[in-house]
């Protein structure tokens, strides 16, 4: 019996790992063969949204704590990188680790807030943190304040034709790692505990689920991943300023993508990010960027009302299996 389960588990992960490696190989090949530079510029954004949406879903989808401040975590990651570049000319891997540490701490802090705040109060507190972060950055001259700061891309590493291509492949790696982490959380006892918290926190606590530990873990991981999504942003843009870094678009996307894709499973945020991220890129180029965010908002409202389980739920209903997981 146990052996069978173990074999099942291995089987469940082999498929995923093979797929993940295949995606990375494809990303590497694309970086060599595709000529159009814009492809990588747009692809990077879609991959970045996969990380952001997956990160949001770990706390929002599994545990039911809605974070409206994702933009602040993203920007905190980006500004940590800027501070390190300005201060020590630190290399990209150091920036990533530092950004994860800073926003992981921020995540831990909002996890601690869940002790007293639930539902809408928690969500508003995350908005509060976002605005306070933005105010601090606006008043912090070292990273450029309200005027912003220019960041120079270091020399392009071997193998890659441009720095953006390298960032594209790196973001693909980060996205795969983030999704693998979310999948691990979801399929392990941690995920079961988080779902119990989402459904009924008191009941979960009373049957011995370590609710506080799990919430702190989920909030920290979620925060750290959002920071990682933001850390390469200054190098990608060559420039950073508070208004675009703290853009509401990140906060809405981070929440809309999982909800539209389906919050129950790791695949939901990925589907949502791939779909909406690509649509956004196309609409922004062909129509306008305001229209693109309007589409995002309308889709969010439509899905919340009509398809609460997201695209995954719709697919399950269509395939006739029915019923929630």
């Amino acid at each position: 019996m146990v052996e069978r389960f173990a074999r099942l588990a291995v089987k469940r992960w082999t498929g995923f790992v093979v797929g993940a490696i295949a995606i990375l190989v494809v990303a590497l090949i694309l970086a060599r063969v595709v000529g159009n530079e814009y492809f990588f510029f747009a692809g990077y954004v879609v991959l970045q949204f996969i990380v952001l949406a997956t990160a949001w879903n770990i706390l929002g989808g599994y545990a039911g704590y809605v974070n409206f401040g994702s933009g602040a975590f993203f920007a905190a990651g980006a500004y940590t990188a800027v501070a390190l570049i300005k201060g020590f000319a630190a290399p990209l891997p150091v920036q990533l680790v530092a950004a994860a540490a800073v926003t992981g701490l921020m995540g831990f802090a909002i996890g601690a807030m869940t002790l007293r705040l639930r539902g809408i109060f928690f969500s508003i507190a995350t908005v509060a943190i976002a605005v306070i972060c933005e105010t601090v950055v606006l008043n912090w001259g070292f990273v450029g304040g309200a005027r912003g700061a220019t960041v120079l891309q270091p020399s392009t590493p071997v193998f890659f034709a441009s720095y953006t291509r390298m960032l594209f492949v790196m973001m693909a790696l980060l996205a795969v790692l983030a999704v693998a982490l979310a999948r691990f959380v979801e399929t392990s006892w941690i995920g079961r505990g988080l779902r119990a918290i989402r459904d009924n926190e008191e009941a979960a606590e009373s049957v011995g689920v370590p609710t506080l530990k799990l919430k702190l873990f989920a909030a920290t991981v979620s925060g750290a991943l959002m920071g990682i999504a933001g850390a390469p942003f200054p190098l990608y843009m060559n420039f950073i300023e508070p208004t675009s870094a703290f853009s509401l678009n990140y906060a809405v996307s981070a929440l809309a993508m999982p909800i539209i894709g389906g919050t129950a499973s790791w695949a939901g945020p990925v589907i949502g990010a791939l779909l909406l991220g690509s649509v956004q890129q196309i609409v922004t180029v062909t129509l306008s960027s305001e229209l693109n965010v309007l589409v995002l908002g309308l889709l969010l409202v439509a899905f919340v009302i009509a398809a609460p389980e997201g695209i995954l739920g719709l697919a399950r209903r269509l395939s006739g299996k029915g019923g929630a997981k």
Binding site: M113, R116, V252, G297, L300, V301, I305
Partner: protein, 290 residues
């Protein structure tokens, strides 16, 4: 900071605070009394401000525009509640995550529609009382703050009298306390809540007009007011009208003092800081029993 400067800051804070109470009073009803996660309230305020701006371009006084738009906002409120009720409350599902996402989405749509139709530039209105100021002893007070102060007092007093004096008003308070008991008394809780949500949204028209009288508006302003309105509504102790006024004044004074001592760029963080403090120390608010 000199004593005189402090006095001036406090006076300005009281005026500002009454204005904050006026913009938050609808949220006190919708969120405080009805328990609807109305994050789109500040977006409706900004919409009201743009309504006053739009009518202002035809020469309509902003305050009159606010009054004229109130029935429109009231009807919109009825519709939004109907929608919300049909989608969540009547199904008996936990609206938690999805209810929040719905109102967040609505707020976002309002902001983007405003950007698409009016652009991102700041907009302001013309009126006889904007730009002038009156002398009160040694202190000069801008007329527009005084107007906002007076209208805010009228709005809050009116709403307070309505809630405690009329049958429907008391039914609204009752539905907040015990919905089942109200149903047993023969009133339909859903209709009462819909009516109350309409009123809450209706206040956004006049309060929005105050918003554009006090300062120029831009579509993204709603985000700042999420902090201010929720700070006031929570500090008031969900649903209390006198509490809303007191909480507004507390926030107004705090912001005004920070403004004169630290500078304008720190003022936006005050409301959110105060909100976090209240949530951490006394989530029931000043006048709350819960």
């Amino acid at each position: 900071m000199s004593f005189e400067l402090l006095g001036e800051a406090i006076l300005a804070g009281v005026l500002l605070g009454c204005f904050y109470a006026a913009v938050s009073v609808g949220l006190s009803v919708a969120f405080g009394l009805l328990d609807v996660p109305q994050i789109a309230h500040p977006a409706f305020l900004v919409l009201g401000a743009y309504g006053a701006y739009f009518l202002g371009s035809f020469g309509v006084d902003p305050l009159l525009a606010g009054v004229l738009l109130t029935p429109v906002f009231f009807l919109a409120g009825l519709a939004v509640y109907r929608f919300y009720h049909a989608a969540f409350e009547s199904r008996g599902t936990d609206a938690g995550l999805r209810g929040l996402a719905l109102f967040f989405g609505i707020a976002f749509i309002v902001e983007v529609v405003l950007i698409l139709s009016f652009g991102v530039d700041q907009r302001m209105v013309e009126a006889a009382y904007i730009g002038k100021s009156v002398a009160l002893g040694v202190v000069r007070i801008p007329m527009r703050m005084l107007v906002a102060f007076l209208v805010a007092l009228v709005l809050i007093t009116g709403l307070s009298l309505y809630l405690s004096g009329t049958f429907t008003g008391r039914a609204i308070k009752a539905v907040a306390q015990d919905q089942t008991a109200l149903a047993l008394m023969g009133a339909d809780p859903v209709r009462i809540k819909q009516w109350a949500f309409g009123i809450a949204t209706g206040t956004c028209a006049l309060a929005g007009a105050l918003l554009i009288i006090v300062a120029p508006v831009e579509p993204g302003l709603g985000r700042l007011y999420i902090g201010r309105t929720f700070c006031v509504a929570v500090l008031a102790g969900l649903g209390s009208m006198p509490g809303t006024l007191v909480a507004g004044i507390i926030l107004g004074i705090a912001e005004s003092v920070v403004l004169t001592s630290l500078g304008a760029s720190w003022a936006p963080a005050v409301a959110f800081g105060l909100l976090l403090l209240v949530l951490a120390v006394r989530p029931a608010g000043l006048f709350g029993q819960r």
